[in-house]
Symmetry: D2
Subunit: 177 residues, 4 copies
Amino acid sequence: MATQVIVLNGGSSSGKSGIVRCLQAELPDPWPVAAIDAFVDALPASLRASNAGIEFAEDGGVTVGPEFRRLEAAWREGVAAMVRAGARVIVDDVFLGGPASQESWRKALTDLDVLWVGVRCEGTVAEAREIARGDRPRGMAAAQAETVHRGVAYDLEVDTTHTESLTCARTIAAHLT
Amino acid sequence: MATQVIVLNGGSSSGKSGIVRCLQAELPDPWPVAAIDAFVDALPASLRASNAGIEFAEDGGVTVGPEFRRLEAAWREGVAAMVRAGARVIVDDVFLGGPASQESWRKALTDLDVLWVGVRCEGTVAEAREIARGDRPRGMAAAQAETVHRGVAYDLEVDTTHTESLTCARTIAAHLT
Amino acid sequence: MATQVIVLNGGSSSGKSGIVRCLQAELPDPWPVAAIDAFVDALPASLRASNAGIEFAEDGGVTVGPEFRRLEAAWREGVAAMVRAGARVIVDDVFLGGPASQESWRKALTDLDVLWVGVRCEGTVAEAREIARGDRPRGMAAAQAETVHRGVAYDLEVDTTHTESLTCARTIAAHLT
Amino acid sequence: MATQVIVLNGGSSSGKSGIVRCLQAELPDPWPVAAIDAFVDALPASLRASNAGIEFAEDGGVTVGPEFRRLEAAWREGVAAMVRAGARVIVDDVFLGGPASQESWRKALTDLDVLWVGVRCEGTVAEAREIARGDRPRGMAAAQAETVHRGVAYDLEVDTTHTESLTCARTIAAHLT
């Protein structure tokens, strides 16, 4: 069966968005992206920086509250339904909960053909790129570099530390069925 | 039963996004937005400006191809599933197909409690705002101001020509059940 | 002598940027804009939110420190030199210091032909637009609506409360010499 | 005498902006950036994509007309005046005219202490990054990778092909006097 969903998991500034754009440019079929960042942008401003929603601390830490979790679960169901309706989708997420996040996706994507991809980047390099992009709180990259992968199982891992996004995307594309 | 979906339909530069942000600020519950603009941004770049995808002509015309339509239909199913999973959602759309667009949403949102809202703005004013914002092809506002509403049925219409987005949002909020 | 500089002064969310884009679209000559927002974006991130730089408080207050002032003065000299070198320039500023800000510009623009324009917007309307745009700290619009005009002398004032940016721009354009 | 201006020259997607943000983060003094991209954004929309202004062709070519050149020259004078007024400034430019562009800057920056830095990146890598960022016309990176450096003299060259922006920035910072 053909791959229906590519789930990319990686820390902040690990290069996921770049890989998504390269995948979209390389793959013959049109794959829309469902990115956690876009989901957060779709929320009311009040839900960002609140205990019920999602909070980005100055040291790069991220905490999510019950309302955020509830809506995030609904968003996952929405992504799954979009795939069941015929779209092939790339998910661009940060598994803040590690294996629990993967389990949530696994349940939502039941019966769908998923390629699980870990996007790694050495903490110091991700941190340097965080400074270079300048639009993320300092510290997120380092804080997430290892933790988001702990206990997560992948079909494939790519590493942007010494490899360009385009090359990583081609490696992923070669694994699609 | 409580309103589960607010569907806003209006032409380019009619003020929908502003109303969405005001609704999100005013409503006690968190309502994520599902905007057609964000959906287009989630597509591969190649699908924009292609016959299969969506094309923005220099005169402000917009044409969509078969691949775009197919993915848009899947997106609507995704939005509906997100609502069925418990999220209350604001849809921010431009009914390029008029009543056919509404019919597509109606099918996707079957059994859900929907508030249909028309967002109007006089063509000349929308055109002036299009110049002021400077990030849209000139001509879209004028081309869409009337056509997107033709044959569409609403529970409520608001008009941003002489009324601020916040006031329009409060009118909409007062109609929620 | 022909007008060489248009200085727009107005509070946050009063509609200055929209007027700038309309002026640029309406005027036959190309007028680049020198906007305080772009100047702030050109500063190191560390200078934002620091005592030495510029701080945006959660209540909408803005405070600037000595380093910011020093660089801002240099920026004004740069704008003046650009005009002396032959460019006609629109300045888009917020006179946080009221008449003192105007005096600083007056010194920098000595011997140049300047049109001083006040861009007004009723506080409650500016506040509503601040919510609608969603990218500014709540409270800035209300805090600045009156204060930035106090003691400032204009050649012309426009008011966006009930008038579109394009109409305001045309009024300004008609005053150019 | 202390370095007053750092001029970075490099092709599209060579990594200049990332280096600028890292320099701003690393240097103890606040260095505002004067970027050609920000200058282009400050121009009327009509001057982009016109024979008199600047045109970005679909194949990545860039052509500039007489009005653009005239305003660009005024902008350079403005940057120089800002430095003479006491600001230390990083210039982020693309020498489309090669040595002629450098000569123009040299004249504008007469008597100032300038550090000339070439930012190199192998064409194929810059091209891959252009796809990954997704906000530039395809082809610019490859077209400019070599040509913008031809005949230009530097105090220092950095290469982002295999070196992170932060490391390049630190190399540059070490050369400041």
